[in-house]
């Protein structure tokens, strides 16, 4: 049997002593909630009335026809309130925070989706809220910053390290060790110290539970493959979990290939040869690090995938051969995004589009009576500055230029 909090050899809780009691309390409230069926009912009711669950499973007729292979289904986490699967996790943790009687939440955010989701949850539950966000991501995802602030959260740009997600996590921990009495740290993905990976995966399992029922109802049998992008791994674990026992369903995690795996400018932990086992940010997994154990700079067009580590649950499933890993480059992502928008009228987040890339590469290999599911973890509206920039849209640039001049003039 594994040590508690371990998945194979991965996971654990490498936490400073000052947080020992905090984690004990968190494990306790989580364990109690997990064994209390009423809690899950309360969670489902909240997600059904405040977000839009169950989210649909959309048959992408046009894309299926275009690739001439498997029937492509899209699990629509983009239709959640706040526009991504992140809502599932924050609402669940919000319920736990209420049980713990804490009054303040903090969170890290990369793409800003988790930050917006967390600020939203805080507004709904009446908690104070501080969001840590790498300064580089503050620039990449400015609209999300604006909304977090309007939601009443304080957004703190993190200027240490590489100024991205990992540094925001460090900063959130630094806040937490000062304020654990009042404050819960709402980790945004299935990483960090135990019980976060397991707990966040539990909240996200709602995705796969729905998808499992939906694919059987629509397609009549299990899908051949399921694709999900992997930043920390929460949307992937969210949809994968329900299908783990169905060994005939192949599960594929897609990481950020950035400028290409051979350039070193990527965030592919399991799909590249560049990662090695390590312990950081409170848990053990495969990290992108140098031979001394210093974390490397990562790169992705998608802020939410731009991270050094990956869920210990996924590393374990990868090691055991249950989940296959692939990477999608920035360039492939832009092309798949364009195709998806034009063919289906659906705008996936840049993060989610990574899953589309790999699905598109493989759809043609399969037969027409087979199905694949792509987990669309979020919507791309939030990425307008990045996408318009990447597509080099002249009228957008013109618009921004004029607005900028207007503001400069005053």
């Amino acid at each position: 049997m594994n040590k508690p909090g371990y998945f194979g050899q991965w996971g654990g809780a490498y936490i400073p002593e000052v947080l020992y009691e905090t984690f004990r309390e968190l494990r306790e409230v989580y364990t109690t909630a997990k064994s209390d069926p009423a809690f899950w009912q309360e969670y489902l009711a909240l997600m059904g009335s405040y977000s839009c669950r169950p989210t649909p499973l959309t048959h992408a007729d046009n894309l299926s026809r275009h690739f001439g292979g498997a029937q492509i289904f899209i699990k629509r986490e983009d239709l959640n309130h706040t526009g991504a699967h992140k809502a599932n996790n924050v609402m669940g943790q919000g319920l736990l925070v209420k049980r713990m009687g804490k009054t303040r939440v903090i969170a890290e955010t990369g793409a800003g989706q988790h930050g917006v989701a967390c600020a939203t949850m805080a507004a709904k539950f009446g908690f104070a809220c501080t969001i840590y966000m790498g300064e580089e991501d503050v620039h990449r995802q400015r609209p999300n910053v604006f909304w977090m602030e309007k939601l009443g959260a304080t957004v703190v740009p993190v200027t240490t390290g590489s100024r991205t997600l990992k540094d925001a996590i460090n900063e959130a921990f630094r806040d937490w060790v000062s304020n654990m009495d009042t404050t819960h740290y709402v980790m945004g993905t299935v990483c960090g110290p135990h019980p976060f990976p397991e707990m966040v995966a539990w909240f996200q399992s709602i995705i796969g539970q729905e998808a499992h029922k939906q694919i059987l109802a629509t397609h009549g049998k299990l899908p051949a493959r399921i694709y999900a992008c992997v930043g920390g791994g929460s949307n992937a674990m969210g949809i994968f979990q329900a299908f783990l026992p169905d060994t005939e369903v192949e599960l594929i995690g897609v990481e950020a290939g950035g400028k290409g795996l051979d350039t070193g400018q990527h965030a592919a932990r399991l799909a590249s040869q560049d990662a090695s086992p390590g312990v950081a940010q409170g848990y053990k997994t495969m990290f992108l690090q140098d031979s001394d154990g210093q974390m490397r700079d990562t790169h992705s067009v998608a802020a939410g995938l731009d991270y050094i580590g990956v869920s210990p649950l996924l590393t374990d499933l990868w090691e055991k051969g249950r989940v296959r890993f692939a990477a999608a480059t920035d360039q492939e992502v832009m092309a798949a995004l364009d195709l998806t928008i034009k063919k289906e009228g659906i705008i996936p987040a840049l993060e989610s589009t990574h899953a589309f890339v790999q699905a598109f590469k493989e759809a043609g290999e399969l037969d027409r009576d087979q199905a694949i599911i792509i987990n669309q973890s979020g919507r791309g509206d939030k990425d307008i500055f990045t996408i318009a920039h990447a597509f080099d849209d002249p009228s957008w640039k013109d618009f921004i230029r004029k607005k900028g001049e207007e503001y400069a003039a005053r």
Partner: protein, 254 residues
């Protein structure tokens, strides 16, 4: 002699011992060398050498910056080991490594402890390695006769303190307050209560750190703790006034 015993003997001659801290390779090994020289010359009893790590989760802004810049300057773990060897050979006080767990983990735990022992290091402070995750580390520390310093926090229960003490050796590092390194600590009644809880939980010497920076702080601690830990204060001093300011500062503390 074991570290704990050595500290007890030293303590019998002084009201309170001083442990100082520096980040290896920041601003340079040359400055480290000079700073350590001044520290030892002015009576410091133990020195913590922090091997920089890219994710110093438990540190405050000053030490984060020191970690980052040291790495950016090209500091390698091997350089830190070599430097430690040089210092341990040169000075007759105990040197410890402070670092985050990934550094020894990635080096190879056994190799790292073995090497540390070889270069003359006496123990480790690893803030992100609770004993539950450190079984192998604790075993190897025993094997190599190195002190795996355990950390108490104000949030630790008595039971927890006893558990930690059971795994510890050398001394116990009592974190003076919630939070990260580098900000001020209030030495109030609850602090005293905390220290007496610490005292009750272990016979090991007690070191108190986080936010200690002045003669007044040291005076308050005297009689309550065995070691006072000066961390961020000297880094700030070197930053502002250069390494030569360290000697007089240390001399003025007791």
């Amino acid at each position: 002699m074991q570290l704990a015993e050595q500290l007890r003997q030293a303590r019998s001659k002084k009201d309170i011992l001083l442990m100082t801290h520096l980040v290896l390779g920041y601003p340079s090994f040359a400055v480290n060398r000079e700073v350590i020289h001044q520290m030892v010359a002015n009576g410091v009893d133990v020195i913590e050498l922090q091997i920089p790590f890219s994710e110093p989760m438990a540190d405050g802004p000053m030490i984060i910056k020191a970690n980052q810049e040291s790495i950016a300057n090209g500091t390698k773990v091997a350089d830190c080991l070599a430097f430690a060897e040089e210092m341990a050979a040169q000075y007759d006080i105990p040197f410890l490594f402070m670092t985050y767990y990934n550094i020894p983990f990635k080096f190879g735990l056994r190799d790292f402890l073995h090497k540390a022992k070889e270069v003359g290091i006496r123990g480790f402070i690893i803030p992100d390695l609770p004993p539950e995750e450190g079984e192998e580390y604790l075993r190897l520390a025993r094997e190599f006769d190195l002190a795996p310093i355990q950390i108490f926090a104000p949030t630790s229960t008595e039971e927890r303190m006893r558990t930690l003490a059971g795994h510890g050796n050398g001394f116990i590092y009592c974190v003076a307050r919630r939070g990260v390194t580098g900000s001020r600590t209030e030495f109030d009644a609850s602090f005293d209560a905390y220290l007496s809880r610490c005292r009750q939980a272990t016979d090991l010497p007690l070191a108190v750190g986080f936010g200690i920076s002045s003669r007044e702080d040291i005076q308050i601690l005297t009689g309550k703790a065995d070691l006072a830990v000066i961390g961020t204060a000297t880094i700030r001093l070197v930053e502002e006034k250069g390494p030569e300011a360290v000697g007089p500062f240390i001399a003025g503390l007791r």
